[in-house]
C-alpha cells in the first residue's frame, strides 16, 4: 500500500477527534467556567457525564475489533477454489440467502458478513466502514457506535442550548467579549453538524428497530420483503443493545480451557505396537510407550511423538507447518453442493492474524 494511502486514512478520524475535543474544551473553558459553575454547578457535572460517555463510546467504536473473521488457514478446503461455485445457498427462516466465496479470505462468507477492502478482512454482521472512526462497524462494535451517535446528539443539543442560554442572559453591550463570541461559534458549529449527525442517528435508530445493517439497507437486500434476521422490533432493539458481547476471534488461544499437567498424563490409550488397528491412534500410542511418566521432559528423539501427544492433549487446533493434509468438506444437501474432495497440499506457513 503506498504511504500516502495510509496517511489519508487517518485524516477524517483525526479531524473528528480534534473537533470533538476542542469544542468540548471550549465549552467547559468559556461558558461553563465563567457562568455556570457559579450559578448552576449541576451543569458542568451533567455535561461532564455526557462527555465521558461520548468519549468512551467513541474510543471503543474506534479501537475495538469489529468482528473480524480470521482468514481460513491453508489446510482448510482451498484446492477447489478455482472450480468452486461462487455462491452457496442457505435457507434461513424460510428465506434463501446467498453466501459468496471470498477470494481473499478463502471461505464462503457467512450470512450478513461482508469483506471490507479497507481493513482487508471479512467482518461479521458488517454494517459499514466508518471513516470518522477509521474502523469497520460490525457485530462487536455496532452498539458502541450506536451509543456514540446517541450520546453525541445529546451532547450537541446540550452544548447548543446551554450556550444559547448563556448568550441570552448576557447584557447586550457585553456581547463582544470573548466568552459570548466563543459561545456563538459553538452554536454555529453545532448547527452545521446537526443535520448530518442527527440524520445518521435517526437512520440507525430505524435500522436497529428493523434489525438491518447499513449494508443491507443501502444495497436493498430486503426491499419489500421479509427480513429473516429480524426478531421483531422490540427484540431487535434489545438484542443489539443488551445482547451478549461477541468475542474476538483474532486470538483464539485465550479461550482454550486451562489444563493441569496431571490431566496431561491421564490419557488412556489402547497401545498396540504402532499397528494400524491401534485404537488410541498411533501418535498417542507410540508417545505413551516411550515417554517417561514425569512431566514433558523430552528427549531429542521423543520430540515428535511428544508434539503429537501434546496436540491431542490440548485438543486445540495446533497446526504444524509442513504437514500434508487431505481435506474434505462435508455439506448438507440443503445448504451446499455435495461433498468436495481436495488433494493434499504442502503448505509452508499459516496466515498469522
Amino acid at each position: 500500500m503506498p504511504k500516502c494511502d495510509v496517511k489519508t486514512r487517518y485524516i477524517p478520524a483525526t479531524f473528528a477527534w480534534t473537533l470533538l475535543l476542542s469544542t468540548t474544551f471550549l465549552f467547559f473553558w468559556y461558558p461553563c467556567r465563567q457562568f455556570y459553575i457559579h450559578r448552576h454547578p449541576w451543569v458542568p457535572a451533567y455535561q461532564a457525564v455526557i462527555t465521558f460517555f461520548v468519549i468512551a463510546n467513541f474510543t471503543l467504536a474506534t479501537f475495538m475489533d469489529p468482528g473480524v473473521i480470521p482468514k481460513a488457514p491453508p489446510d482448510e478446503d482451498r484446492e477447489d477454489e478455482f472450480r468452486a461455485p461462487l455462491y452457496k445457498n442457505a435457507e434461513i427462516n424460510g428465506i434463501t440467502v446467498r453466501m459468496k466465496w471470498c477470494v481473499t479470505c478463502k471461505f464462503y462468507r457467512p450470512p450478513r458478513c461482508s469483506h471490507c477492502s479497507v481493513c482487508n478482512h471479512c467482518i461479521e454482521t458488517f454494517d459499514h466502514h466508518c471513516p470518522w472512526v477509521n474502523n469497520c462497524i460490525g457485530r462487536r462494535n455496532y452498539r458502541f457506535f450506536f451509543f456514540f451517535l446517541i450520546s453525541l446528539s445529546v451532547h450537541m443539543l446540550s452544548i447548543f442550548s446551554l450556550s444559547l442560554v448563556y448568550v441570552l442572559q448576557k447584557e447586550k453591550d457585553k456581547l463582544t467579549e470573548v466568552e459570548p463570541i466563543v459561545a456563538m461559534i459553538l452554536m454555529a458549529i453545532v448547527t452545521l453538524l446537526a443535520i448530518p449527525i442527527f440524520g445518521l442517528t435517526g437512520f440507525h435508530m430505524v435500522l436497529v428497530s428493523r434489525g438491518r445493517t447499513t449494508n443491507e439497507q443501502v444495497t436493498g437486500k430486503f426491499k419489500g420483503g421479509y427480513n429473516p434476521f429480524s426478531r421483531g422490533c422490540w427484540n431487535n432493539c434489545c438484542y443489539t443493545q443488551c445482547g451478549p458481547q461477541y468475542p474476538s476471534l483474532l486470538k483464539p488461544q485465550k479461550y482454550v480451557a486451562r489444563r493441569s499437567n496431571k490431566e496431561n498424563q491421564s490419557i488412556s490409550t489402547i497401545t498396540n505396537d504402532g499397528g494400524p488397528g491401534g485404537g488410541g491412534g498411533d501418535a498417542a500410542g507410540s508417545g505413551r510407550r516411550h515417554m517417561p511418566t514425569g512431566g514433558p521432559g523430552s528427549q531429542q528423539q521423543q520430540q515428535q511423538q511428544q508434539q503429537q501427544q501434546q496436540a491431542l492433549n490440548q485438543g486445540g487446533g495446533i497446526y504444524d507447518n509442513n504437514r500434508h493434509t487431505q481435506v474434505k468438506t462435508y455439506m448438507d444437501h440443503g445448504n451446499g453442493h455435495g461433498i468436495r474432495t481436495v488433494g493434499s497440499s504442502h503448505y509452508s506457513k499459516l496466515t498469522e492474524l
Binding site: P110, P111, P247, Y255, Q307, K328
Partner: protein
C-alpha cells in the same frame, strides 16, 4: 523447545504425517447464531456411531445457544460496562467468552475420552473463526 513451538500456531515444526479431515459446517437455518449441523458425515461411519456424534454436536450447539442468548445477565453486564467506561472488559470475561471456555473444555474432554481412542480429533471451532468444526482422522493417511 518442542512444547513452546507447539503452543504457537503458525511456527515451523517437524514433518508430520498426513491427516484426513472432515469439516462440519454451520447450520444457518435459524439465523446467524452459531450452530453446527449435526448430520452424521459418512466418512466417520466406520469409526464412531451416529448417536455419539450427534450427542456431541447437540451438546456443543447447546453451549453456543446459551452463549448467544440475550438475558438479564448480559444486560447487566452491558450496563456495568457502560458505567465503567468499558474498563470492565479488561478485568473480566464476557458471558460469551466464558461459554467458549466451556466449549473448549468439553471438546478436550470428548477428545480424551471418546474420539482420540477411536483415532479422531475434534478441533475447537474457535480456531476456525467459529465457521466449521474440523474432525481429523488421525490414523488415515491423506492422499499425496
Amino acid at each position: 523447545m518442542a512444547n513452546v513451538r507447539m503452543s504457537q500456531p503458525g511456527t515451523p515444526a517437524t514433518t508430520q504425517p498426513n491427516y484426513m479431515k472432515v469439516f462440519i459446517q454451520r447450520d444457518y437455518s435459524e439465523g446467524t447464531s452459531v450452530k453446527f449441523q449435526n448430520r452424521f458425515p459418512p466418512e466417520l461411519e466406520s469409526r464412531i456411531d451416529r448417536h455419539t456424534f450427534e450427542s456431541t454436536m447437540n451438546k456443543l450447539n447447546e453451549y453456543f445457544a446459551e452463549a448467544e442468548k440475550g438475558s438479564c445477565s448480559t444486560y447487566c453486564e452491558g450496563c456495568l460496562a457502560c458505567i465503567t467506561a468499558y474498563l470492565i472488559y479488561i478485568c473480566t470475561e464476557t458471558h460469551y467468552e466464558k461459554c467458549l471456555r466451556k466449549v473448549s473444555k468439553y471438546i478436550a474432554m470428548q477428545n480424551e475420552r471418546v474420539y482420540n481412542p477411536k483415532g479422531l480429533q475434534i478441533t475447537d471451532p474457535v480456531y476456525r473463526g467459529l465457521r466449521v468444526i474440523e474432525i481429523s482422522i488421525l490414523d488415515r493417511p491423506g492422499r499425496t
